[in-house]
Symmetry: C2
Subunit: 318 residues, 2 copies
Amino acid sequence: MRVAVGRMSPSIGRVVTYHLGWVDADGRSVDDPGGKVVRPALAFASARGVGASAEAALPGAVAVELVHNFSLLHDDVMDRDTERRHRPTAWALMGVGEAILAGDALLAMAQEALIDPPSPERLRAAAALSMATAEMITGQAEDLAFERREDVGFDECIAMLEHKTAALLACACKMGAILGGGTDQQVDALGDFGHSLGLAFQAVDDILGIWGKPEVTGKQAWSDLRQHKKTLPMVAALETGGAAADALRRLLASDESSDDDIARAAELIESNGGKDRALAVAAQSLEVALAHLDRIDAQLGPRRELEEIAGFITARDF
Amino acid sequence: MRVAVGRMSPSIGRVVTYHLGWVDADGRSVDDPGGKVVRPALAFASARGVGASAEAALPGAVAVELVHNFSLLHDDVMDRDTERRHRPTAWALMGVGEAILAGDALLAMAQEALIDPPSPERLRAAAALSMATAEMITGQAEDLAFERREDVGFDECIAMLEHKTAALLACACKMGAILGGGTDQQVDALGDFGHSLGLAFQAVDDILGIWGKPEVTGKQAWSDLRQHKKTLPMVAALETGGAAADALRRLLASDESSDDDIARAAELIESNGGKDRALAVAAQSLEVALAHLDRIDAQLGPRRELEEIAGFITARDF
Protein backbone atom coordinates (compact mmCIF):
# COMPACT_ATOMS: atom_id res chain seq x y z
CA MET A 1 0.00 0.00 0.00
CA ARG A 2 2.77 2.42 0.96
CA VAL A 3 4.62 1.77 -2.29
CA ALA A 4 1.46 2.32 -4.35
CA VAL A 5 0.45 5.46 -2.46
CA GLY A 6 4.03 6.72 -2.50
CA ARG A 7 3.86 6.85 -6.29
CA MET A 8 1.06 9.42 -6.20
CA SER A 9 1.68 13.15 -6.61
CA PRO A 10 2.04 15.12 -3.35
CA SER A 11 -1.26 16.99 -3.71
CA ILE A 12 -3.15 13.70 -4.03
CA GLY A 13 -0.97 11.76 -1.59
CA ARG A 14 -1.79 14.34 1.09
CA VAL A 15 -5.52 13.54 0.81
CA VAL A 16 -5.05 9.78 0.45
CA THR A 17 -2.72 9.40 3.44
CA TYR A 18 -5.10 11.47 5.58
CA HIS A 19 -8.08 9.40 4.46
CA LEU A 20 -6.20 6.16 5.18
CA GLY A 21 -5.40 7.42 8.68
CA TRP A 22 -1.64 7.36 8.10
CA VAL A 23 -1.33 11.07 8.88
CA ASP A 24 -3.43 13.51 10.91
CA ALA A 25 -5.05 16.73 9.70
CA ASP A 26 -1.69 18.53 9.98
CA GLY A 27 0.14 15.88 7.96
CA ARG A 28 1.92 14.33 10.98
CA SER A 29 2.45 10.56 10.93
CA VAL A 30 0.10 8.43 12.99
CA ASP A 31 1.69 5.47 14.74
CA ASP A 32 -1.23 3.06 14.64
CA PRO A 33 -3.41 3.85 11.66
CA GLY A 34 -5.99 1.23 12.69
CA GLY A 35 -8.64 0.27 10.15
CA LYS A 36 -10.08 -3.21 9.81
CA VAL A 37 -8.51 -4.17 6.45
CA VAL A 38 -11.18 -6.83 6.06
CA ARG A 39 -10.66 -7.30 2.33
CA PRO A 40 -6.87 -7.79 2.39
CA ALA A 41 -7.32 -10.24 5.29
CA LEU A 42 -9.73 -12.24 3.15
CA ALA A 43 -7.36 -12.21 0.17
CA PHE A 44 -4.44 -13.43 2.29
CA ALA A 45 -6.50 -16.13 4.02
CA SER A 46 -7.91 -17.30 0.68
CA ALA A 47 -4.43 -17.77 -0.74
CA ARG A 48 -3.61 -19.84 2.34
CA GLY A 49 -6.89 -21.69 1.85
CA VAL A 50 -5.71 -23.00 -1.51
CA GLY A 51 -2.36 -24.05 -0.09
CA ALA A 52 -0.25 -21.04 -1.06
CA SER A 53 1.55 -18.55 1.17
CA ALA A 54 -0.34 -15.44 2.24
CA GLU A 55 2.24 -13.34 0.36
CA ALA A 56 1.03 -14.74 -2.97
CA ALA A 57 -2.13 -12.65 -2.54
CA LEU A 58 -0.28 -9.37 -1.93
CA PRO A 59 -1.01 -7.59 -5.25
CA GLY A 60 -4.69 -8.53 -4.92
CA ALA A 61 -4.81 -7.51 -1.26
CA VAL A 62 -3.37 -4.08 -2.08
CA ALA A 63 -5.60 -3.59 -5.13
CA VAL A 64 -8.83 -4.52 -3.34
CA GLU A 65 -8.04 -2.21 -0.42
CA LEU A 66 -7.30 0.63 -2.85
CA VAL A 67 -10.66 0.04 -4.58
CA HIS A 68 -12.43 -0.10 -1.21
CA ASN A 69 -10.91 3.22 -0.16
CA PHE A 70 -11.76 4.78 -3.52
CA SER A 71 -15.39 3.92 -2.79
CA LEU A 72 -15.25 5.29 0.77
CA LEU A 73 -13.85 8.62 -0.40
CA HIS A 74 -16.58 9.02 -3.03
CA ASP A 75 -19.35 7.68 -0.77
CA ASP A 76 -18.56 10.27 1.86
CA VAL A 77 -18.86 13.03 -0.75
CA MET A 78 -22.13 11.65 -2.09
CA ASP A 79 -23.67 11.05 1.33
CA ARG A 80 -22.26 14.32 2.73
CA ASP A 81 -20.95 12.30 5.69
CA THR A 82 -18.75 14.55 7.79
CA GLU A 83 -17.21 11.89 10.05
CA ARG A 84 -15.44 8.59 9.46
CA ARG A 85 -13.32 6.63 11.94
CA HIS A 86 -13.84 9.38 14.55
CA ARG A 87 -12.29 12.03 12.28
CA PRO A 88 -13.57 14.58 9.77
CA THR A 89 -13.99 12.98 6.35
CA ALA A 90 -11.48 13.92 3.66
CA TRP A 91 -13.88 16.12 1.68
CA ALA A 92 -15.04 17.90 4.83
CA LEU A 93 -11.44 18.74 5.74
CA MET A 94 -9.80 19.16 2.34
CA GLY A 95 -12.51 19.89 -0.21
CA VAL A 96 -14.91 18.04 -2.48
CA GLY A 97 -12.74 18.21 -5.59
CA GLU A 98 -9.71 16.98 -3.67
CA ALA A 99 -11.64 13.98 -2.31
CA ILE A 100 -13.09 13.09 -5.72
CA LEU A 101 -9.62 13.18 -7.30
CA ALA A 102 -8.04 11.18 -4.48
CA GLY A 103 -10.69 8.49 -5.01
CA ASP A 104 -10.07 8.53 -8.76
CA ALA A 105 -6.34 8.14 -8.15
CA LEU A 106 -6.89 5.13 -5.87
CA LEU A 107 -9.05 3.41 -8.49
CA ALA A 108 -6.49 4.02 -11.25
CA MET A 109 -3.69 2.87 -8.94
CA ALA A 110 -5.53 -0.36 -8.06
CA GLN A 111 -5.39 -1.62 -11.63
CA GLU A 112 -1.76 -0.58 -11.96
CA ALA A 113 -0.84 -2.43 -8.75
CA LEU A 114 -2.34 -5.59 -10.17
CA ILE A 115 -1.19 -5.68 -13.78
CA ASP A 116 2.32 -4.30 -13.38
CA PRO A 117 4.28 -6.54 -13.71
CA PRO A 118 1.83 -8.80 -15.55
CA SER A 119 1.39 -12.56 -15.16
CA PRO A 120 -1.53 -14.77 -16.24
CA GLU A 121 -2.79 -14.96 -12.62
CA ARG A 122 -2.50 -11.21 -12.08
CA LEU A 123 -4.40 -10.53 -15.27
CA ARG A 124 -7.16 -12.93 -14.31
CA ALA A 125 -7.32 -11.20 -10.94
CA ALA A 126 -7.42 -7.80 -12.66
CA ALA A 127 -10.38 -8.87 -14.81
CA ALA A 128 -12.20 -10.09 -11.68
CA LEU A 129 -11.48 -6.79 -9.95
CA SER A 130 -12.74 -4.71 -12.89
CA MET A 131 -16.00 -6.61 -12.89
CA ALA A 132 -16.44 -6.44 -9.12
CA THR A 133 -15.70 -2.70 -9.19
CA ALA A 134 -18.36 -2.19 -11.85
CA GLU A 135 -20.82 -4.20 -9.74
CA MET A 136 -19.97 -2.19 -6.64
CA ILE A 137 -20.59 1.07 -8.49
CA THR A 138 -23.92 -0.30 -9.73
CA GLY A 139 -24.84 -1.06 -6.12
CA GLN A 140 -23.93 2.46 -5.05
CA ALA A 141 -26.08 3.87 -7.84
CA GLU A 142 -29.00 1.67 -6.71
CA ASP A 143 -28.44 2.78 -3.12
CA LEU A 144 -28.55 6.42 -4.22
CA ALA A 145 -31.68 5.88 -6.35
CA PHE A 146 -33.41 4.10 -3.45
CA GLU A 147 -33.13 7.24 -1.29
CA ARG A 148 -35.66 8.91 -3.59
CA ARG A 149 -38.04 5.96 -3.82
CA GLU A 150 -40.74 4.96 -1.33
CA ASP A 151 -41.50 1.49 -2.69
CA VAL A 152 -38.15 -0.30 -2.30
CA GLY A 153 -38.77 -4.00 -1.62
CA PHE A 154 -36.77 -6.30 0.65
CA ASP A 155 -35.52 -8.45 -2.23
CA GLU A 156 -34.25 -5.55 -4.30
CA CYS A 157 -32.59 -4.17 -1.19
CA ILE A 158 -30.76 -7.49 -0.78
CA ALA A 159 -29.76 -7.36 -4.47
CA MET A 160 -28.42 -3.83 -3.97
CA LEU A 161 -26.32 -4.94 -0.98
CA GLU A 162 -24.99 -7.88 -2.99
CA HIS A 163 -23.76 -5.41 -5.61
CA LYS A 164 -22.57 -2.72 -3.23
CA THR A 165 -20.66 -4.90 -0.74
CA ALA A 166 -20.75 -8.63 -1.46
CA ALA A 167 -19.20 -8.34 -4.94
CA LEU A 168 -15.96 -6.79 -3.63
CA LEU A 169 -15.60 -9.19 -0.68
CA ALA A 170 -16.21 -12.09 -3.09
CA CYS A 171 -13.53 -10.61 -5.36
CA ALA A 172 -11.02 -10.31 -2.49
CA CYS A 173 -11.41 -14.05 -1.84
CA LYS A 174 -11.35 -14.92 -5.53
CA MET A 175 -8.19 -12.91 -6.15
CA GLY A 176 -6.48 -14.57 -3.21
CA ALA A 177 -7.40 -17.98 -4.62
CA ILE A 178 -6.37 -17.03 -8.18
CA LEU A 179 -3.02 -15.54 -7.13
CA GLY A 180 -2.44 -18.55 -4.87
CA GLY A 181 -2.79 -20.84 -7.89
CA GLY A 182 -6.09 -22.41 -6.77
CA THR A 183 -8.23 -24.61 -9.01
CA ASP A 184 -11.32 -23.19 -10.72
CA GLN A 185 -13.46 -24.98 -8.15
CA GLN A 186 -11.54 -23.42 -5.27
CA VAL A 187 -11.77 -19.98 -6.86
CA ASP A 188 -15.53 -20.37 -7.28
CA ALA A 189 -16.06 -21.74 -3.77
CA LEU A 190 -14.04 -18.94 -2.14
CA GLY A 191 -15.90 -16.42 -4.29
CA ASP A 192 -19.21 -17.83 -3.03
CA PHE A 193 -17.89 -17.77 0.55
CA GLY A 194 -16.90 -14.12 0.17
CA HIS A 195 -20.22 -13.23 -1.44
CA SER A 196 -22.37 -14.66 1.37
CA LEU A 197 -20.00 -13.29 3.97
CA GLY A 198 -20.24 -9.88 2.32
CA LEU A 199 -24.01 -9.92 2.63
CA ALA A 200 -23.76 -10.89 6.32
CA PHE A 201 -21.16 -8.15 6.86
CA GLN A 202 -23.36 -5.51 5.22
CA ALA A 203 -26.46 -6.61 7.17
CA VAL A 204 -24.48 -6.09 10.37
CA ASP A 205 -23.25 -2.75 9.06
CA ASP A 206 -26.82 -1.64 8.33
CA ILE A 207 -27.79 -2.50 11.91
CA LEU A 208 -24.79 -0.52 13.19
CA GLY A 209 -25.80 2.38 10.93
CA ILE A 210 -28.96 2.76 13.06
CA TRP A 211 -28.22 1.30 16.49
CA GLY A 212 -24.42 1.42 16.59
CA LYS A 213 -22.82 3.62 19.21
CA PRO A 214 -20.92 6.56 17.69
CA GLU A 215 -17.87 5.73 19.80
CA VAL A 216 -17.79 2.28 18.16
CA THR A 217 -18.78 3.12 14.60
CA GLY A 218 -16.85 6.39 14.36
CA LYS A 219 -19.87 7.94 12.61
CA GLN A 220 -22.65 10.24 13.77
CA ALA A 221 -25.46 8.46 15.63
CA TRP A 222 -28.33 7.42 13.35
CA SER A 223 -26.46 8.75 10.31
CA ASP A 224 -28.28 6.35 7.97
CA LEU A 225 -31.66 7.46 9.32
CA ARG A 226 -30.80 11.16 8.99
CA GLN A 227 -30.09 10.57 5.30
CA HIS A 228 -33.30 8.58 4.81
CA LYS A 229 -31.23 5.66 3.59
CA LYS A 230 -33.14 2.56 2.53
CA THR A 231 -31.09 0.18 4.64
CA LEU A 232 -32.12 -3.40 5.28
CA PRO A 233 -33.82 -2.81 8.67
CA MET A 234 -35.70 0.20 7.31
CA VAL A 235 -36.91 -1.59 4.16
CA ALA A 236 -37.92 -4.67 6.17
CA ALA A 237 -39.91 -2.51 8.60
CA LEU A 238 -41.63 -0.65 5.77
CA GLU A 239 -42.52 -3.89 4.00
CA THR A 240 -44.16 -5.29 7.15
CA GLY A 241 -46.73 -2.51 6.86
CA GLY A 242 -49.30 -1.49 9.46
CA ALA A 243 -49.41 1.60 11.63
CA ALA A 244 -45.68 1.55 12.40
CA ALA A 245 -44.80 1.55 8.69
CA ASP A 246 -47.24 4.43 8.05
CA ALA A 247 -45.68 6.45 10.88
CA LEU A 248 -42.21 5.67 9.50
CA ARG A 249 -43.25 6.86 6.04
CA ARG A 250 -44.50 10.15 7.50
CA LEU A 251 -41.19 10.66 9.29
CA LEU A 252 -39.29 9.91 6.07
CA ALA A 253 -41.43 12.39 4.13
CA SER A 254 -40.51 15.34 6.36
CA ASP A 255 -37.46 17.29 5.26
CA GLU A 256 -36.28 18.38 8.69
CA SER A 257 -36.10 15.70 11.37
CA SER A 258 -35.31 16.42 15.02
CA ASP A 259 -33.27 14.01 17.15
CA ASP A 260 -36.55 12.94 18.75
CA ASP A 261 -38.02 12.12 15.33
CA ILE A 262 -34.96 10.05 14.48
CA ALA A 263 -35.04 8.19 17.80
CA ARG A 264 -38.72 7.50 17.19
CA ALA A 265 -37.91 6.12 13.71
CA ALA A 266 -35.34 3.74 15.19
CA GLU A 267 -37.99 2.49 17.67
CA LEU A 268 -40.57 2.01 14.93
CA ILE A 269 -38.14 0.02 12.80
CA GLU A 270 -37.33 -2.23 15.74
CA SER A 271 -40.98 -2.71 16.82
CA ASN A 272 -41.92 -3.59 13.25
CA GLY A 273 -39.31 -6.35 13.11
CA GLY A 274 -36.73 -4.56 10.95
CA LYS A 275 -33.81 -5.18 13.26
CA ASP A 276 -34.65 -8.86 13.75
CA ARG A 277 -35.02 -9.45 10.05
CA ALA A 278 -31.64 -7.88 9.34
CA LEU A 279 -30.10 -9.97 12.12
CA ALA A 280 -31.62 -13.07 10.52
CA VAL A 281 -30.07 -12.18 7.15
CA ALA A 282 -26.70 -11.77 8.86
CA ALA A 283 -26.94 -15.10 10.66
CA GLN A 284 -28.20 -17.08 7.68
CA SER A 285 -25.69 -15.56 5.26
CA LEU A 286 -22.83 -16.32 7.63
CA GLU A 287 -23.99 -19.94 7.86
CA VAL A 288 -24.18 -20.23 4.05
CA ALA A 289 -20.72 -18.66 3.75
CA LEU A 290 -19.14 -21.13 6.14
CA ALA A 291 -20.77 -24.07 4.33
CA HIS A 292 -19.01 -23.05 1.10
CA LEU A 293 -15.67 -23.68 2.83
CA ASP A 294 -16.40 -27.44 2.64
CA ARG A 295 -15.79 -27.19 -1.10
CA ILE A 296 -12.21 -25.92 -1.02
CA ASP A 297 -10.46 -28.87 0.68
CA ALA A 298 -8.40 -26.54 2.83
CA GLN A 299 -6.05 -27.67 5.54
CA LEU A 300 -7.31 -27.21 9.08
CA GLY A 301 -5.18 -24.15 9.95
CA PRO A 302 -6.08 -22.04 6.89
CA ARG A 303 -9.73 -23.06 7.19
CA ARG A 304 -9.81 -21.88 10.80
CA GLU A 305 -8.36 -18.54 9.69
CA LEU A 306 -11.14 -18.06 7.16
CA GLU A 307 -13.74 -18.98 9.78
CA GLU A 308 -12.20 -16.63 12.31
CA ILE A 309 -12.20 -13.68 9.91
CA ALA A 310 -15.83 -14.48 9.06
CA GLY A 311 -16.78 -14.51 12.73
CA PHE A 312 -14.77 -11.40 13.50
CA ILE A 313 -16.27 -9.19 10.81
CA THR A 314 -19.88 -10.19 11.47
CA ALA A 315 -19.80 -9.99 15.27
CA ARG A 316 -19.68 -6.31 16.03
CA ASP A 317 -20.65 -4.44 19.13
CA PHE A 318 -24.23 -3.11 19.07
CA MET B 1 -18.79 2.30 -26.91
CA ARG B 2 -22.44 1.30 -27.13
CA VAL B 3 -21.66 -2.29 -26.12
CA ALA B 4 -19.59 -1.12 -23.13
CA VAL B 5 -22.18 1.44 -22.01
CA GLY B 6 -24.99 -1.06 -22.63
CA ARG B 7 -23.49 -3.29 -19.94
CA MET B 8 -23.99 -0.62 -17.28
CA SER B 9 -26.96 -0.65 -14.90
CA PRO B 10 -29.94 1.50 -15.99
CA SER B 11 -29.48 4.11 -13.25
CA ILE B 12 -25.88 4.72 -14.34
CA GLY B 13 -26.55 4.24 -18.06
CA ARG B 14 -29.11 7.05 -17.89
CA VAL B 15 -26.45 9.52 -16.71
CA VAL B 16 -23.72 8.24 -19.02
CA THR B 17 -25.85 8.30 -22.20
CA TYR B 18 -27.01 11.82 -21.35
CA HIS B 19 -23.45 12.97 -20.71
CA LEU B 20 -22.27 11.41 -23.99
CA GLY B 21 -25.04 13.24 -25.84
CA TRP B 22 -26.73 10.02 -27.01
CA VAL B 23 -30.01 10.98 -25.32
CA ASP B 24 -31.55 14.31 -24.30
CA ALA B 25 -32.66 15.37 -20.82
CA ASP B 26 -35.87 13.36 -21.22
CA GLY B 27 -34.03 10.21 -22.28
CA ARG B 28 -34.98 10.48 -25.97
CA SER B 29 -32.41 9.32 -28.54
CA VAL B 30 -30.38 12.00 -30.29
CA ASP B 31 -29.67 11.35 -33.97
CA ASP B 32 -26.30 13.02 -34.23
CA PRO B 33 -24.53 12.95 -30.87
CA GLY B 34 -21.65 15.07 -32.20
CA GLY B 35 -18.53 15.27 -30.07
CA LYS B 36 -15.02 15.48 -31.45
CA VAL B 37 -13.77 12.00 -30.45
CA VAL B 38 -10.20 13.28 -30.78
CA ARG B 39 -8.64 10.45 -28.77
CA PRO B 40 -10.26 7.53 -30.64
CA ALA B 41 -9.36 9.23 -33.93
CA LEU B 42 -5.72 9.32 -32.81
CA ALA B 43 -5.80 5.67 -31.74
CA PHE B 44 -7.25 4.58 -35.11
CA ALA B 45 -4.84 6.72 -37.14
CA SER B 46 -1.89 5.46 -35.07
CA ALA B 47 -2.81 1.83 -35.82
CA ARG B 48 -2.89 2.77 -39.52
CA GLY B 49 0.40 4.59 -39.05
CA VAL B 50 2.12 1.33 -38.10
CA GLY B 51 0.61 -0.52 -41.06
CA ALA B 52 -2.39 -2.15 -39.34
CA SER B 53 -6.08 -1.63 -39.98
CA ALA B 54 -7.86 1.07 -37.98
CA GLU B 55 -10.05 -1.65 -36.42
CA ALA B 56 -7.03 -3.11 -34.61
CA ALA B 57 -7.13 -0.06 -32.32
CA LEU B 58 -10.82 -0.46 -31.40
CA PRO B 59 -10.44 -1.66 -27.76
CA GLY B 60 -7.95 1.15 -27.13
CA ALA B 61 -10.12 3.74 -28.86
CA VAL B 62 -13.12 2.78 -26.74
CA ALA B 63 -11.12 2.64 -23.51
CA VAL B 64 -9.45 6.02 -23.99
CA GLU B 65 -12.77 7.70 -24.80
CA LEU B 66 -14.32 6.14 -21.68
CA VAL B 67 -11.44 7.47 -19.56
CA HIS B 68 -11.75 10.91 -21.17
CA ASN B 69 -15.46 11.04 -20.41
CA PHE B 70 -14.85 9.87 -16.84
CA SER B 71 -12.62 12.90 -16.41
CA LEU B 72 -15.14 15.29 -17.99
CA LEU B 73 -17.92 14.13 -15.66
CA HIS B 74 -15.76 14.60 -12.57
CA ASP B 75 -14.20 17.87 -13.82
CA ASP B 76 -17.63 19.42 -14.25
CA VAL B 77 -18.50 18.51 -10.66
CA MET B 78 -15.22 19.87 -9.31
CA ASP B 79 -15.32 23.08 -11.37
CA ARG B 80 -19.08 23.50 -10.80
CA ASP B 81 -19.43 23.99 -14.56
CA THR B 82 -23.10 24.09 -15.44
CA GLU B 83 -22.81 23.85 -19.23
CA ARG B 84 -21.02 21.53 -21.63
CA ARG B 85 -21.64 21.11 -25.35
CA HIS B 86 -24.47 23.67 -25.15
CA ARG B 87 -26.38 21.57 -22.60
CA PRO B 88 -26.63 21.44 -18.81
CA THR B 89 -23.83 19.30 -17.36
CA ALA B 90 -24.78 15.88 -15.98
CA TRP B 91 -24.40 16.87 -12.32
CA ALA B 92 -26.40 20.06 -12.83
CA LEU B 93 -29.27 18.08 -14.36
CA MET B 94 -29.08 14.78 -12.49
CA GLY B 95 -27.21 15.34 -9.24
CA VAL B 96 -23.65 15.38 -7.94
CA GLY B 97 -23.69 11.81 -6.63
CA GLU B 98 -25.07 10.51 -9.90
CA ALA B 99 -22.35 12.26 -11.92
CA ILE B 100 -19.57 11.04 -9.62
CA LEU B 101 -20.81 7.45 -9.89
CA ALA B 102 -21.26 7.66 -13.66
CA GLY B 103 -17.64 8.81 -13.94
CA ASP B 104 -16.48 5.99 -11.67
CA ALA B 105 -18.38 3.50 -13.81
CA LEU B 106 -16.73 4.79 -16.99
CA LEU B 107 -13.26 4.43 -15.47
CA ALA B 108 -13.95 0.87 -14.28
CA MET B 109 -15.46 0.00 -17.66
CA ALA B 110 -12.43 1.34 -19.54
CA GLN B 111 -10.12 -1.25 -18.00
CA GLU B 112 -12.66 -3.99 -18.57
CA ALA B 113 -13.04 -3.02 -22.25
CA LEU B 114 -9.30 -3.37 -22.70
CA ILE B 115 -8.40 -6.54 -20.81
CA ASP B 116 -11.42 -8.66 -21.60
CA PRO B 117 -10.62 -10.77 -23.57
CA PRO B 118 -6.90 -10.49 -22.80
CA SER B 119 -3.99 -10.62 -25.25
CA PRO B 120 -0.38 -9.53 -24.78
CA GLU B 121 -1.02 -6.35 -26.80
CA ARG B 122 -4.21 -5.52 -24.92
CA LEU B 123 -2.46 -5.97 -21.58
CA ARG B 124 0.41 -3.74 -22.65
CA ALA B 125 -2.16 -1.16 -23.74
CA ALA B 126 -3.98 -1.52 -20.38
CA ALA B 127 -0.78 -0.86 -18.46
CA ALA B 128 -0.16 2.26 -20.58
CA LEU B 129 -3.72 3.43 -19.95
CA SER B 130 -3.46 2.92 -16.17
CA MET B 131 -0.32 5.02 -16.06
CA ALA B 132 -1.73 7.75 -18.30
CA THR B 133 -4.91 7.86 -16.20
CA ALA B 134 -2.86 8.28 -13.04
CA GLU B 135 -0.89 11.08 -14.73
CA MET B 136 -4.09 12.77 -15.86
CA ILE B 137 -5.48 12.69 -12.33
CA THR B 138 -2.21 14.17 -11.05
CA GLY B 139 -2.62 16.98 -13.56
CA GLN B 140 -6.16 17.64 -12.42
CA ALA B 141 -5.00 17.77 -8.81
CA GLU B 142 -2.26 20.26 -9.78
CA ASP B 143 -4.82 22.32 -11.70
CA LEU B 144 -7.06 22.40 -8.62
CA ALA B 145 -4.17 23.30 -6.30
CA PHE B 146 -3.08 26.11 -8.66
CA GLU B 147 -6.45 27.85 -8.24
CA ARG B 148 -5.48 28.62 -4.65
CA ARG B 149 -1.92 29.72 -5.40
CA GLU B 150 -0.75 33.11 -6.60
CA ASP B 151 2.81 32.19 -7.59
CA VAL B 152 2.26 29.56 -10.31
CA GLY B 153 5.09 29.78 -12.84
CA PHE B 154 4.89 29.26 -16.60
CA ASP B 155 7.02 26.08 -16.53
CA GLU B 156 4.99 24.36 -13.83
CA CYS B 157 1.84 25.34 -15.69
CA ILE B 158 3.22 23.60 -18.80
CA ALA B 159 4.07 20.52 -16.66
CA MET B 160 0.50 20.50 -15.30
CA LEU B 161 -0.94 20.61 -18.83
CA GLU B 162 1.37 17.78 -19.88
CA HIS B 163 -0.07 15.67 -17.06
CA LYS B 164 -3.67 16.78 -17.44
CA THR B 165 -4.01 16.51 -21.21
CA ALA B 166 -0.88 15.42 -23.06
CA ALA B 167 -0.52 12.10 -21.18
CA LEU B 168 -3.90 10.78 -22.36
CA LEU B 169 -3.44 11.92 -25.98
CA ALA B 170 0.00 10.31 -25.97
CA CYS B 171 -1.59 7.15 -24.60
CA ALA B 172 -4.27 7.11 -27.32
CA CYS B 173 -1.51 7.12 -29.95
CA LYS B 174 0.59 4.57 -28.08
CA MET B 175 -2.32 2.18 -27.65
CA GLY B 176 -3.15 2.43 -31.35
CA ALA B 177 0.47 1.60 -32.18
CA ILE B 178 0.63 -1.25 -29.63
CA LEU B 179 -2.66 -2.81 -30.72
CA GLY B 180 -1.60 -2.40 -34.35
CA GLY B 181 1.52 -4.46 -33.65
CA GLY B 182 3.99 -1.58 -34.09
CA THR B 183 7.66 -1.79 -33.13
CA ASP B 184 8.87 -0.29 -29.84
CA GLN B 185 10.34 2.61 -31.83
CA GLN B 186 7.01 3.28 -33.51
CA VAL B 187 5.16 3.09 -30.21
CA ASP B 188 7.59 5.60 -28.67
CA ALA B 189 7.48 7.94 -31.65
CA LEU B 190 3.69 7.97 -31.79
CA GLY B 191 3.59 8.50 -28.02
CA ASP B 192 5.89 11.51 -28.43
CA PHE B 193 3.74 12.79 -31.30
CA GLY B 194 0.61 12.49 -29.13
CA HIS B 195 2.31 14.14 -26.19
CA SER B 196 3.40 17.27 -28.09
CA LEU B 197 0.09 17.37 -29.92
CA GLY B 198 -1.70 17.16 -26.57
CA LEU B 199 0.17 20.18 -25.30
CA ALA B 200 -0.70 22.14 -28.47
CA PHE B 201 -4.32 21.04 -28.13
CA GLN B 202 -4.52 22.17 -24.50
CA ALA B 203 -2.84 25.52 -25.25
CA VAL B 204 -5.54 26.15 -27.86
CA ASP B 205 -8.19 25.02 -25.37
CA ASP B 206 -6.88 27.46 -22.77
CA ILE B 207 -7.13 30.28 -25.30
CA LEU B 208 -10.69 29.22 -26.13
CA GLY B 209 -11.49 29.11 -22.40
CA ILE B 210 -10.96 32.88 -22.30
CA TRP B 211 -11.60 34.22 -25.80
CA GLY B 212 -13.71 31.43 -27.34
CA LYS B 213 -17.27 32.30 -28.34
CA PRO B 214 -19.85 30.44 -26.22
CA GLU B 215 -21.67 29.32 -29.38
CA VAL B 216 -18.46 27.59 -30.50
CA THR B 217 -17.16 26.25 -27.17
CA GLY B 218 -20.54 25.23 -25.73
CA LYS B 219 -19.44 26.71 -22.40
CA GLN B 220 -20.17 29.99 -20.62
CA ALA B 221 -18.12 32.95 -21.86
CA TRP B 222 -14.93 33.49 -19.83
CA SER B 223 -15.69 30.42 -17.73
CA ASP B 224 -12.00 29.84 -16.93
CA LEU B 225 -11.62 33.45 -15.77
CA ARG B 226 -14.71 33.30 -13.58
CA GLN B 227 -13.17 30.31 -11.77
CA HIS B 228 -9.79 32.06 -11.38
CA LYS B 229 -8.20 29.18 -13.24
CA LYS B 230 -4.43 29.37 -13.72
CA THR B 231 -4.56 28.70 -17.45
CA LEU B 232 -1.58 29.18 -19.72
CA PRO B 233 -2.46 32.73 -20.94
CA MET B 234 -3.22 33.86 -17.38
CA VAL B 235 0.02 32.45 -15.94
CA ALA B 236 2.06 33.90 -18.80
CA ALA B 237 0.51 37.34 -18.27
CA LEU B 238 1.15 37.21 -14.52
CA GLU B 239 4.74 36.15 -15.04
CA THR B 240 5.39 39.09 -17.36
CA GLY B 241 4.73 41.36 -14.37
CA GLY B 242 4.28 45.12 -14.46
CA ALA B 243 1.15 47.20 -13.93
CA ALA B 244 -1.05 44.85 -15.97
CA ALA B 245 -0.04 41.85 -13.82
CA ASP B 246 -0.70 43.83 -10.64
CA ALA B 247 -4.14 44.82 -11.87
CA LEU B 248 -4.82 41.19 -12.82
CA ARG B 249 -3.81 40.03 -9.35
CA ARG B 250 -6.22 42.50 -7.76
CA LEU B 251 -9.04 41.22 -9.95
CA LEU B 252 -8.20 37.64 -9.03
CA ALA B 253 -8.18 38.46 -5.32
CA SER B 254 -11.78 39.74 -5.34
CA ASP B 255 -14.39 37.12 -4.60
CA GLU B 256 -17.19 38.59 -6.66
CA SER B 257 -16.33 39.64 -10.22
CA SER B 258 -18.75 41.47 -12.52
CA ASP B 259 -18.83 40.82 -16.26
CA ASP B 260 -16.98 44.11 -16.72
CA ASP B 261 -14.22 42.91 -14.34
CA ILE B 262 -13.90 39.68 -16.29
CA ALA B 263 -13.78 41.47 -19.65
CA ARG B 264 -11.09 43.74 -18.22
CA ALA B 265 -9.08 40.69 -17.07
CA ALA B 266 -9.22 39.21 -20.58
CA GLU B 267 -7.89 42.52 -21.96
CA LEU B 268 -5.10 42.68 -19.39
CA ILE B 269 -4.01 39.12 -20.18
CA GLU B 270 -3.91 39.94 -23.89
CA SER B 271 -2.09 43.27 -23.44
CA ASN B 272 0.51 41.57 -21.25
CA GLY B 273 1.28 38.99 -23.93
CA GLY B 274 -0.54 36.01 -22.38
CA LYS B 275 -2.53 35.17 -25.49
CA ASP B 276 0.49 35.43 -27.81
CA ARG B 277 2.62 33.26 -25.56
CA ALA B 278 -0.06 30.54 -25.44
CA LEU B 279 -0.40 30.76 -29.23
CA ALA B 280 3.37 30.30 -29.51
CA VAL B 281 3.24 27.19 -27.33
CA ALA B 282 0.49 25.79 -29.54
CA ALA B 283 2.40 26.50 -32.75
CA GLN B 284 5.75 25.18 -31.51
CA SER B 285 4.27 22.04 -29.96
CA LEU B 286 2.39 21.26 -33.15
CA GLU B 287 5.62 21.58 -35.11
CA VAL B 288 7.46 19.27 -32.69
CA ALA B 289 4.60 16.77 -32.87
CA LEU B 290 4.68 16.63 -36.65
CA ALA B 291 8.46 16.16 -36.65
CA HIS B 292 8.06 12.98 -34.56
CA LEU B 293 6.11 11.44 -37.44
CA ASP B 294 9.37 11.16 -39.40
CA ARG B 295 10.38 8.40 -36.98
CA ILE B 296 7.53 5.97 -37.67
CA ASP B 297 8.16 5.20 -41.37
CA ALA B 298 4.46 5.44 -42.13
CA GLN B 299 3.01 5.15 -45.60
CA LEU B 300 1.90 8.41 -47.18
CA GLY B 301 -1.86 7.93 -46.67
CA PRO B 302 -1.75 7.10 -42.95
CA ARG B 303 0.80 9.85 -42.33
CA ARG B 304 -1.49 12.40 -44.00
CA GLU B 305 -4.31 11.22 -41.70
CA LEU B 306 -2.23 11.82 -38.59
CA GLU B 307 -1.20 15.27 -39.90
CA GLU B 308 -4.80 16.13 -40.72
CA ILE B 309 -6.05 15.18 -37.25
CA ALA B 310 -3.23 17.22 -35.73
CA GLY B 311 -4.16 20.25 -37.83
CA PHE B 312 -7.85 19.82 -37.18
CA ILE B 313 -7.68 19.66 -33.39
CA THR B 314 -5.30 22.60 -33.00
CA ALA B 315 -7.02 24.97 -35.45
CA ARG B 316 -10.14 26.06 -33.68
CA ASP B 317 -12.27 29.11 -34.25
CA PHE B 318 -11.37 31.96 -31.89
